[in-house]
């Protein structure tokens, strides 16, 4: 009887302990660490990499750890980083929940960008900001990989780093037509600044890592001076400099929007269709009816079949099954991150980067960083850009603008939308 009771007790205790251990956060997730760029250790075709250079790899890792901290739970902020200073002038205080003091870590009275990022952003954008969180495979377009410092919807020239306002706007208003939600009602203004800082921090870290790989790629593993402190400092300054320059590079249209008169809309339509001497090729991508189905891109049906036609991880297999011509076109129409692109359907009045005239001006004048939408300024002047903006804003309400043959039934204020 006693033996049986002990057996039951032992069984019960071991079950309880297993459950308790199994439920612990640490056991489930393991330590939270930054993910390394594949090129740090492996050969990547056509790109700089550090395969076969263990000493340089170690130096790069050490430099990153020294600059940005060993793990997301211990954040270091490099001197001079383009991040916000708090009220007392300390740099990077918006990032973490804890401050390192001589007595040990002290909890701050705010969540910190790291904590907020973990709660709201990590499941798509990933711990390292590589756009590889657990929900990432289920959304299209895929979440942004922050590690190259490139962001699509900015007010700065094509390829330049975003201005702080651009990141703030994306977080606050979301990106329409994508899975990026608006956080205006979820975060306070101060919290949003913390998230902007943390995203910037992840970008700076990722860009530094890439710069170290590129620099190490041309170095000799046996060279003691390769990736020396001076070189690293210079690389980091280069990374910071790009972010610091962004504020001054913001494009402000020299003149306000041309009133959306029928004439202006008509001029915009002619530009769109390539009927002007500038021979713009908007219709080539966005389609003759603005439906986003131009001949420069893979057919919509094929695109949908490949992108949405099953397990996202098996997309390469579906691409491989395409005929040679389509496959070639597919390869040409990827964005900087290697994701398939689709031109916007302009008849739906969904504008990812914002619907304000200034947002559309930015998209047309300076293109979309990382995507195939090119900068059109100074190819066309700002008055022509406003004409195009007026046309794009009128199209959802006047689809007849692109009816052929168009007999210029253009009115600025159409009575109703057809969608």
């Amino acid at each position: 009887m006693i033996v049986r009771r002990r057996l039951v007790l032992g069984l019960g205790l071991s079950t309880l302990m297993t459950l308790a251990a199994g439920c612990s956060d640490a056991d489930l997730t393991g330590p939270i660490v930054y993910e390394e760029q594949p090129a740090l250790t492996r050969e990547v075709e056509g790109k700089a990499h550090l395969a076969g250079k263990p000493k340089i790899q170690a130096k790069a890792r050490k430099a990153l750890e020294k600059l940005y901290g060993p793990a997301p739970k211990e954040i270091h902020v490099p001197e001079g980083a383009p991040l916000t200073k708090d009220e007392s002038g300390r740099l990077g205080m918006l990032l973490a929940n804890f401050e390192q003091t001589p007595e040990g870590p002290k909890k701050l009275d705010h969540a910190g960008g790291y904590g907020l990022y973990r709660r709201h952003c990590l499941h798509c954008h990933g711990v390292t900001g590589a756009g590889d969180g657990p929900t990432a495979p289920f959304v299209f377009p895929p979440p942004r990989d922050f590690r190259r410092g490139l962001f699509k919807f900015t007010s700065t020239p094509n390829g330049a780093r975003p201005d702080r306002d651009d990141l703030r706007r994306s977080i606050r208003d979301g990106l329409h037509g994508t899975s990026m939600p608006a956080f205006e009602a979820l975060l306070t203004a101060a919290e949003m600044e913390q998230v902007v800082d943390y995203v910037t921090f992840l970008s700076l870290r990722g860009e530094t890592e890439l710069a170290l790989i590129e620099e190490g790629f041309i170095g000799d593993d046996e060279d003691e001076d390769a990736l020396g402190d001076d070189v690293v400092a210079e690389l980091v300054q280069g990374v910071f400099g790009k972010w610091e320059d962004a504020r001054d590079a913001v494009v402000n249209p020299p003149s306000p929007r041309t009133p959306p008169s029928p004439e202006s809309v008509g001029r915009g339509r002619d530009l769109f269709l390539g009927r002007t001497k500038e021979k713009l090729e908007c219709a080539g991508c966005h389609g003759a009816k603005g439906l986003g189905d131009g001949p420069s891109f893979v057919e919509v049906g094929v695109f949908n079949r490949v992108v949405f036609g099953g397990d996202p991880s098996k997309m390469p297999e579906r691409v491989a099954k395409l005929d040679d011509k389509t496959r070639e076109l597919w390869k040409q129409k990827l964005d900087e991150w290697g994701n398939p692109l689709r031109p916007a359907n302009l008849t739906r009045a969904v504008y990812k980067g914002g619907r304000r005239p200034i947002d559309l001006y930015w998209r047309i004048a300076k293109g979309i960083t990382g995507a195939q939408m090119p900068a059109h300024y100074p190819g066309i002047d700002q008055a022509q850009i406003w004409d195009l903006v007026n046309f794009v804003l009128a199209l959802p309400y006047q689809p007849e603008l692109l009816d052929e043959p168009s007999t210029a039934g253009v009115t600025a204020e159409a009575p109703a939308v057809r969608r």
Binding site: P181, L186, S255, R356, P357, A416
Partner: protein, 277 residues
């Protein structure tokens, strides 16, 4: 063993006590404005709460009655043994009592019929399409994973024209005026939920559902999605702002429209960047 019944008695007493205490605590009771824990801000809210309280009293009475009987039976009959150490009243099988069955079927059925008839007016007022107020539409709300997209008619008062105002997670209307919205969904089933106004309506893909409500206190409230519509479901939180006057609402709309029409960064001296809302 009979003292086990006291544990059940304690649990029942705690449950009843919690409900008795709840109306006096802003955190425990239904969501009402801070400082006015017993004031429901909307007309429908007051009706819904009255129904809720009636149901609470009815179920509360049944709960207390059944638990009293249960605890009494446990306490009275457990552990009773005769001189030989056998149970004084051994359990016996019997086929059942038709009279009892009829009684405990008719009583709840009667209660349910009463509730069904009693709440009909409220339901019709809140949900029937024919009861929709004859007022212009305040906005069209489209739920999508994971936000509420709002489209207000612009100065021309008509939806789907170029002067429409678009916002995200930001619902505005005027105090003491019935607001009528058209609810849609772009993807899955969402649930439009205004907890303080006690309004909840599913948004179903392919349907346009009219929803109407009001509020008698200006202020800031909450809009949530009450459907588990996906991983980011909690992100579908919106702000509801009830304006004191129509003029205040118009001013808000004008400011938003001005921002929506922005074509340059502010260049006025002293303006900090001009890209702030």
């Amino acid at each position: 063993m009979r003292y086990w019944s006291l544990i059940f008695a304690l649990a029942a007493a705690f449950s009843v006590g919690a409900f008795a205490y709840a109306p006096f605590s802003a955190d425990w009771w239904l969501p009402n404005p801070a400082g006015e824990p017993r004031h429901v801000v909307s007309t429908f809210g007051r009706e819904i709460d009255a129904l809720f309280v009636i149901i609470l009293w009815l179920t509360g009475a049944v709960f207390v009655g059944t638990h009293a009987a249960l605890i009494w039976a446990q306490f009275r009959y457990a552990d009773r043994v005769d001189a030989d150490g056998k149970p004084a009243r051994p359990a016996q099988y019997f086929h059942g009592s038709q009279r009892l069955e009829v009684v405990w079927t008719i009583i709840p059925a009667g209660i349910l019929v009463f509730l069904a008839l009693y709440q009909m007016d409220t339901w019709a007022n809140i949900k029937f399409r024919s009861a929709a107020p004859r007022t212009p539409v305040l906005a069209e709300l489209t739920g999508r994973q994971f936000q509420w997209m709002m489209k207000y008619p612009g100065p021309d008062g008509r939806l789907n024209t170029p002067d429409d105002l678009f916002t995200v997670n930001d619902l505005h209307f005027v105090k003491d005026r019935t607001a009528l919205i058209h609810l849609k969904s772009a993807d899955v089933i969402h649930s439009f939920f205004l907890p303080q106004m006690r309004i909840k309506q599913d948004a179903v893909p392919g349907m346009t559902i009219p929803v109407w409500f009001d509020c008698d206190r200006a202020g800031r409230y909450e809009l949530a999605c009450a459907e588990l519509c996906g991983w980011g479901h909690y992100k579908m939180r919106g702000d509801v702002v009830v304006h004191e006057t129509e003029r205040e609402f118009q001013e808000w709309q004008a400011a938003k429209l001005a921002e929506q029409g922005r074509s340059q960064l502010a260049t006025a001296p002293g303006d900090p960047g001009g890209d702030e809302k």
